[in-house]
Structures are given as structure tokens and as C-alpha cells.
């Protein structure tokens, strides 16, 4: 039984001046799938992820998210983005709002939720990511790990179908990485569709249904974690894994 993919990336090119950041990339992701994107620095991982919610506008090809071609000029990207939660390396919480304020802003404005409803959802999410006690605190008072968990909760508050993570633990002190990965792992267990750029191999091995290896703007190998770690085919992937493991 095959289901329609929830994300279709079709022959996508992205140029930054002379540089080809994405070179004929195609990738289908089915609903509920957890995909981890690996690759050396500058290989185009972030560019691919950011293209999926059109933070980067691609130059050629198509990207279809939940049935909507986001590359089409008539596409209302703002509604598509409500289906796509995004978590950044640098958290990007809104510093002028409390934790709770960060979580209720988008649901109230974009989903016309009442304050009470938005807050009760937000408090549930904060409980889920383990920081209910910080609801009324400003982000500057939180540790990096706490900020990132708030950022995940903020994205989840819009009840997205897909979550995109761009190196969510790379800016964290080592002792805080675990708490963020735990949240992501439990999210995966709940069946969320996830696309993660990460260098956390333990997480990739445990959570990913599929690993995607990129180099020089191309996807050069895909497979299950099993296949990747026991039997990598492409020499560049072998080299990459040797360096990283």
C-alpha cells in the first residue's frame, strides 16, 4: 500500500549567485515518516529544509506540501506554513514576549483562537516539553535547552502536520542536548512527520525511518539507518561517517 507523499521535492535547483546550493534534488516524504538529512557543512541541508517552507525561494523545480505547490505564484504560503512547524538552530524565540506569549501569539492571531483556549493548549505543550513552571518568564531567563524546547512547543502550538528541524541542538551546551532530543524523540513516537538536519547520530539511528546524505547540493545516498551505518555505498558517505562516528 502506498500513500501519497506529504512532501514532494521535484528536481529542485537553488542558486546563490554562481554557487549551486541545490542541484536537481528530488525527495518524497510520506506522512508520519521521520527523515534525517546528513551531510558536510555547506552541502545544502539547510537550503533544502528552508525551501520546504519557502524561507528560500527555489530557482527551478517544484515543491508540493500537503497537496499544495508552494512554488506556484498563486499559492498562499502563509496558510501552508501553518502546517509546517520550523525549529531553528538559534531558537529565535520572541524576546519581547513571555514563554506563554510566544506560544499563544500565532494560534490567537492566525487560528482566531480565544486567549483561554490558546493558553490551555500552550500550557499542555509546555508540560509536554517539561517547562510548565517557566510559562510567565521571558526567554532571556532560560537556558539554551529550555529555549529550544519552548521553540518546539511554539511550533507545535499551531498543530502542524510536519515539523522541520535545522540543527536544533548545534547551538547547545552538551549537557542540554539530551533534553531537546528527548522531546523530539517523543514527538516522533506520536507519529509526527519530521524532517531533521542533525549531526546527532544516536538520534538518527533511533528515530529516523530514512537517512538522506547530501553533498555539494545533491542527494547522493538514501537508506535506513541500518543500511547507512552497516553498509554505506558511496565513498563520500563512507568518508563522512568515518569522520563523524
Amino acid at each position: 500500500m502506498t500513500t501519497n507523499p506529504i512532501i514532494q521535492v521535484e528536481n529542485v535547483y537553488k542558486f546563490f549567485g554562481q554557487l549551486t546550493a541545490l542541484n536537481d534534488v528530488s525527495l518524497n516524504i510520506t506522512s508520519g515518516e521521520k527523515v534525517v538529512i546528513l551531510g558536510p557543512s555547506g552541502s545544502g541541508k539547510s537550503t533544502l529544509l528552508r525551501s520546504i517552507n519557502r524561507l528560500e525561494k527555489i530557482d527551478k523545480g517544484h515543491i508540493i506540501v500537503d497537496g499544495q505547490d508552494i512554488t506556484a505564484p498563486e499559492c498562499n504560503i502563509n496558510t501552508v506554513r501553518q502546517e509546517l512547524g520550523m525549529v531553528f538552530q538559534s531558537f529565535n524565540l520572541f524576546p519581547h514576549k513571555t514563554v506563554l506569549g510566544n506560544l499563544i501569539m500565532a494560534p490567537m492571531r492566525l487560528k482566531k483562537m480565544s486567549k483561554e483556549e490558546a493558553e490551555s493548549i500552550a500550557l499542555d505543550l509546555l508540560k509536554k516539553v517539561g517547562i510548565s513552571d517557566k510559562a510567565h518568564v521571558y526567554p532571556a531567563k532560560l537556558s539554551g535547552g529550555q529555549q529550544q524546547r519552548v521553540a518546539i512547543a511554539r511550533a507545535l502550538a499551531m498543530n502542524p502536520k510536519i515539523m522541520l528541524f535545522d540543527e536544533p541542538t548545534s547551538a547547545l551546551d552538551p549537557e542540554m542536548i539530551g533534553e531537546v532530543l528527548d522531546v523530539m524523540t517523543s514527538l516522533a513516537k506520536e507519529g509526527m512527520t519530521m524532517v531533521c538536519v542533525t549531526h546527532e547520530m544516536g538520534f538518527a539511528r533511533e528515530v529516523a525511518d530514512r537517512l538522506v546524505f547530501m553533498d555539494h547540493g545533491e542527494i547522493i545516498e538514501q537508506g535506513t539507518p541500518e543500511e547507512f551505518f552497516t553498509n554505506p555505498k558511496h565513498p563520500r558517505l563512507k568518508q563522512f561517517l568515518e569522520q563523524i562516528l
Partner: protein, 262 residues
Amino acid sequence: MSVEKKEVRIAVTDGMLIPSGKDKSVVTAWSISLIFAICSIVYLCVNKPDPYLDIIKFLPDGILVTFKVTVSAILLTIPIGLATGMGRLSENKVINLIASTYVEIIRGIPLLVQLFFIYYAIGEFIQLPDLTAAIIAMSVCYGAYMGEVFRAGIDAVDSGQTEAARSLGFNKTETMFMVILPQAWRTILPPVGNEFIALLKDSSLVSILAVSELLRRGREYASVTFNYFECYLMVALIYLVITLLLSKAVSIMENKLNYYDD
């Protein structure tokens, strides 16, 4: 992708030096100036009521007009500055060019010349009260400077904030008004305060446009009594007290805006 740190730099205007809120000592340039100005006024009025007390009684109408011009102009300047600043940052080439040209032209012409020009240009088309025309003229001039302040303030907010807001599904306008401006305000407020104070001082220029603000009131009094020195001394001291108090108010407001820092 490396995270770029943007340099925060906002042009320093010729407004007052805003006293630092962290400076807790009593003896500061600010307090010395204020005490000096107030004591001088009181001393002169008590010891030489003729003419100083008479002058002091004559001036409040002018102070009121000065405030009217300043406050109205600043209120008009904020939307003009906001539009100009956003225009200068716009990806739309036409809007960008219009905003930049406005700023360039205004910055290249002396304020006094602009005031004359705009005042009489308005007069060519519609008959407005002198006060209104003067306020519009001041706003058009100061709008360009305010535009630069807004541009710098908006530009100083980390681009990650825009990305986070857009990713949640906010459109450009929502992102600007709900996420960027509430943060930019903190970088914008001190220079806006400075502009406000500079504008208050420059409002003395509209005295030539038949608007009876503080300076013109002083001149009117002096031209009758011939107490030129005494009149302008009082006018100067009053300007000084007002600007000193305003700069304090700005610094207090600035500290209030730091509530979300650690």
C-alpha cells in the same frame, strides 16, 4: 550558514545627551545644568522682578505653542518615519527609491530653507492656519530623519525573528507589527527621544513663520520694552529647563523598555 551579527549603529543627532539611567550619582552634568537653570530663573525673578518676572509671565503662551508644534510634529513624524524607514528596507525597488529620494532631498537642504519653502508651497495651494502649516513643514523635514532612525532600528532586529514569525504563518505586515517593531522600539526610542528634543529646539525656527512660540513671544516682548538681553536670557533658560526635563523623561522611558532583559 553562519549567524551574522548585525552592527547596531544609529546616527547621532544634535539632540540632547540622554542621561544614562545607570548613573546613580547626584552630581551629574544633567543635575548641575538643571539646578543652574532653575536657580538662575528663580534668583532673577526674585531679585529683579522688573523685568524678569514680567517676562516670565509673558512667556507661557509661547511655551504652550512650542509644545503644540513639537508634539504635533513628532506625532506626524512617527508614521512618516515608519513609512520611510520601511520603504528604505523594502524589496520593492520603486518604493525603496521613493523613500530614499525623499530622505536624500530633505537631508540636502537646510531646515530653515525647507521651512520657508514648504510653508509657502502649502500656501500656494490651500490656506492653512500658520500653526498648521508650520507643523506640516516641521513634520516633512523631520520625517526623513526619523525614517533613518526607524530604518536602523528595524534593521538591527535579528533576521531570525522574521524567519521565525514567517515560519509560523504570519504575513509580512503581522511580522512587522507584532514581532519586529516591538523589538525595534527599544533601539529606536533613544534616538526618537533625541529627535523629539532636537525638534523642540528647532521649533524656534518657526518663529519666523509668524507662529508665536516661545522665541517669538520673547522677541515680541523685547521689541516693546527693549529688554533684549533679559528676554533672550529667560528664553534660553526656559529652553534649557524643558530640554533637560525631556531628556530625563526619555531616559526613564528607555529603562522601562528594558523589562525583558536578564
